[in-house]
């Protein structure tokens, strides 16, 4: 097990180096000069331009800029935002709980709906339910997030008035964050109306962000269930005279869930990518919106460090999933 773990960690090192190179190169390949972007429409006189280039270190050879960057990152220094002048890590820590909270609820939504739907579709294979569920899942998977989000806002918030349009909590509630998770903080303060407000603000963005994972989970659960239902031990269970519910719920589902757990783990990347759009539409103060803003501002420092931090999180989650998978399924360790 230890060897398996060390192997996995060793594999992360080249990935990490690759990511720093990609993040560094990517922002520099973006057309547009950060100094001109800062100056706005006024433009900047050539002499002042050179002065600023020097101040920001953009006059150094590219490899030297990269070496500097890696050196800083290695010591935990993720730099200071060009536009806000605040440390990138500090901004990340402030904003990340919002993204995490939204992703968590999106995932809960996707699992609560996706797993049961997948099971029923598998059990009633070929039925109208199965057909329409798989059709809907395909639509959900292909849904453009931006369009889907605005559609829900216009219908549920604008037309029906059931949910708030955007934001994390009603503006009448104002308190210093403790954990950064609205649903937890409101409970710590013991404010039920604030808690309800936070939950109601989560409904639409969680649905929008959870739509793609929902489709993936439903399909994955269905195919895993189908495979398991054909196994000998399920037939044996049925032959023993166990009830249908028990056979499916205990014998089949537990085994079918193994690949589903992996799928869920792998959805973390999808969630973080989806958060970029979802947060922008719903004015959700998380890291997705932060990245978009920074790309528009050509804030090199935030973009490259933000990419790196997000990649680190995805890698960590994948590592945990790998380990969990090995724990659940001993065959993996040997392989």
């Amino acid at each position: 097990m230890l060897r398996y773990l060390l192997n996995k960690i060793a594999l992360l090192i080249p990935t990490l180096v690759g990511i720093t190179i990609c993040a560094f190169a990517f922002v520099r390949l973006l057309p547009g000069d950060p100094i001109l972007a800062m100056a706005g429409e006024h433009g900047v006189a050539p002499a002042r331009y050179e002065e600023l280039k020097q101040q920001f270190g953009y006059n150094l050879p590219i490899w030297e800029q990269y070496a500097r960057y890696v050196g800083e990152v290695a010591t935990g220094d993720f730099g200071v935002s060009i536009s806000s002048k605040r440390p990138v890590l500090e901004e990340f820590k402030t904003l990340f709980p919002a993204t995490l909270e939204l992703s968590f609820f999106a995932m809960v939504f996707a699992m609560l709906l996706g797993i049961p739907a997948g099971i029923v579709a598998a059990v009633k294979r070929g039925s109208w339910f199965d057909q329409s569920l798989m059709g809907t899942a395909l639509v959900g998977y292909s849904m453009p997030i931006f369009w889907w989000g605005l559609l829900l806002i216009i219908f549920f918030s604008g037309y029906l008035g059931w949910t708030p349009v955007s934001g994390r909590i009603g503006l009448q509630f104002f308190f210093k964050p403790i954990t950064g998770f609205m649903t937890i903080d409101t409970l710590i303060y013991g404010k039920w109306d604030a808690f309800r407000s936070a939950l109601s603000h989560l409904v639409l963005p969680a649905i929008v962000l959870g739509t793609i994972p929902l489709a993936v989970i439903a399909r994955q659960t269905r195919s895993a269930m189908l495979e398991v239902l054909g196994e000998d031990y399920v037939r044996t269970a049925r032959a023993k005279g166990l009830s249908g519910a028990r056979v499916i719920g205990v014998h089949a589902l537990r085994n079918a869930l193994i690949p589903v757990v992996t799928t869920i783990g792998l959805q973390v990347g999808t969630l973080l990518a989806g958060a970029i759009l979802t947060e922008t539409i719903f004015a959700w103060p998380g890291i997705g919106k932060w990245m978009v803003d920074s790309i528009f501002k050509r804030d090199y420092v935030v973009v490259q460090s933000g990419l790196l931090l997000i990649a680190l999180i995805v890698m960590a989650v994948n590592l945990i999933v790998d380990v969990l998978y090995a724990v659940i399924n001993p065959r993996i360790r040997a392989a």
Binding site: D33, K85, L150, I153, S166, F174, F175, Y189, A283, W290
Partner: protein, 532 residues
């Protein structure tokens, strides 16, 4: 222990602030997060809405909803006959805001004024560089050429400040009404420096403006309270909240749902929906902007005014504006400056649509091909450069000129476009900073702006003499005459095709009164009230 303390403080804050619900609260759905709250260090309109126009005041102010200068922290001022010395007399008894992070011990005085400017250019000032914030660039101070014109700021006595210039510069007064010229507290700065917390100056602002800062939740909500000591009298709304909502459609839905009271910049596509709603009003105003297309006047055959006129005449401007701005609308531009600005000459007209005449001239000049530039960005004065380019391309094709469209990303676009040897026609525009005509004429078409923001590389001696003279003259009537003559020359020489001045919009709920559209693109909440 520390955690318990924070927790207790938070509980206290929560219990104190839950009493806010009964107070009169105005919610503004702003379009973006402010970079920080120090207006000297930022450049965006949304930065200024959140800092300079709420928390701070200036020596002079723009009239609410206009560009005329009126007294601010300075009750009155004198300008010496040679136009070199400005003496400002400060309003006595102006208090800086008292908050939980700063308690002022003295009133505003000349030291604060001198410090507010000194920190922006004096490299010896500890607040000028890295000790305060990393990589400070003071973009507006340098962008408005202040280092060139300001010789020194001096304290005469506690309530008198003297500004000496290196040469006469009439727009200086308007510059001092701009956001970067906000007056900050030297006492607060000194205290933070002593405590080793200089960066707080940009995140916990202290000013003399109508609202004082309460809290900012990063990228989400900014809270202000009315400044009880405001020297022009306490505001009618008790609490001002900025709910940061970047998506334009979501912003409008929030106003319609009553989640906010005022929201800027609706999508043109939503304008019909807004107009149909009985609870809200769509406010609009011709913006202080111009969309235009610069010809490089140094490269033949574009060096000949008749060729430039012919290219202008070949464009069906009315159809172009309609197609670009749609329901949002725009005012066709006759001059470089918009009609809301003083010195605008109503008798000057730009080229009328006349493709037949254009064809003759262009054939005679032998112009067969031209580069036509388009950027990838939406700007207030041109919502779609690419579409504009395609329509102009079609119009020019009709008169026998083949236009090749050149595309670049926005910052690269301007970088390439300002080069002296850039060929062809370059679409660009401008939004005014201070309501002074000099900010349009000299910034965009002075000889010294070639290679910076004079995209036509146009240097006309007569025009240059007029605008330089106007810059040095302090009498506005005299300046108006000079700018009128400059407009005549501009129309005759046609260094650019003038497109339009776009409308600026905001959506306001009907129970809000006193909100005014601002030609400078600023959103102000002083003087605003709300009926419950």
């Amino acid at each position: 222990m520390k955690k318990t303390m924070t927790f207790a403080a938070a509980l206290l804050a929560a219990s104190v602030l839950s009493g806010m619900a009964s107070a009169k609260t105005l919610v503004y759905c702003s379009e973006a997060s402010p970079a920080n709250f120090d207006p000297g260090t930022t450049t965006g309109g949304n930065d200024f809405d959140a800092s300079s126009r709420t928390v701070y005041s200036r020596l002079v102010e723009f009239k609410h909803g206009g560009t005329e200068i009126e007294p601010g922290l300075a009750d009155k001022w004198e300008i010496s006959d040679d136009g070199l010395v400005y003496t400002f007399h400060l309003h006595p008894g102006v208090k800086f805001q008292t908050t939980d992070y700063f308690k002022p011990t003295r009133d505003l005085n000349a030291d604060d004024v001198v410090f507010s400017f000194d920190r922006q250019f004096n490299k010896e000032n500890p607040w000028n560089g890295d000790k305060y914030l990393p990589n400070l660039t003071w973009d507006y101070y340098t962008g408005m050429d202040m280092p060139k014109y300001v010789a020194k700021w001096e304290k005469v006595d506690d309530l008198t400040v003297k500004l000496t210039l290196t040469e006469p510069n009439a727009p200086m007064l308007a510059n001092l009404g701009m956001d970067f010229a906000s007056i900050v507290s030297k006492e607060y700065a000194d205290q933070l420096q002593k405590d080793g917390k200089m960066a707080d100056f940009s995140t916990k602002p202290i000013g003399t403006g109508p609202f004082q800062f309460v809290d900012y939740q990063l990228d989400a909500v900014i809270r202000y309270a009315a400044n009880p000591d405001y020297f022009k009298g306490k505001e009618k709304i008790d609490d001002l909240v900025f709910a940061i909502t970047p998506d334009a459609t979501a912003r409008i839905q929030k106003v319609l749902a009553g989640e906010c009271d005022v929201a800027p910049y609706p999508n043109p596509a939503d304008i019909a929906t807004i107009k149909a709603n009985k609870d809200v009003t769509l406010m609009d105003q011709a913006g202080l902007n111009i969309g235009y297309m610069s010809y490089n006047t140094t490269i033949p055959p574009l060096d000949k005014p008749e060729v430039r006129h012919a290219l202008n005449q070949a464009i069906d401007r009315e159809a172009l504006i309609k197609s670009l701005f749609q329901d949002a609308g725009a005012t066709p531009a006759e001059n470089l400056i918009p009609p809301t600005m003083w010195s605008w000459d109503k008798d000057v007209k730009t080229d009328a649509y006349n493709p037949d005449e254009a064809k003759k001239v262009l054939e005679a000049a032998g112009l067969k091909e031209i580069q036509l530039w388009a950027a990838d960005r939406v700007r207030p004065y041109n919502p779609n450069f690419q579409r504009a380019a395609e329509l102009i391309q079609a119009d020019w094709a009709k008169v026998g000129v083949k236009a090749n469209i050149v595309n670049y990303e926005w910052t690269k676009y301007r970088e390439e476009g300002k080069k002296k040897d850039r060929p062809g026609a370059f679409q660009i525009g401008w939004t005014g900073d201070n309501g002074d005509p000099d900010n349009f004429f000299a910034t965009l078409f002075a000889c010294s702006a070639i290679g910076v923001s004079n995209y036509s590389s146009w240097c006309d001696k007569d025009f240059e003499d007029l605008i330089q003279k106007a810059k040095k003259t302090s009498d506005q009537a005299e300046r108006t005459k000079l700018y009128e003559q400059a407009q005549v020359i501009f129309a005759k020489e046609a260094p650019a095709f003038l497109l339009a001045h776009s409308q600026v919009y905001a959506v306001v709920r009907n129970n809000v009164s006193g909100f005014k559209m601002d030609p400078l693109g600023i959103h102000r909440f002083d003087g605003v009230d709300k009926a419950e």
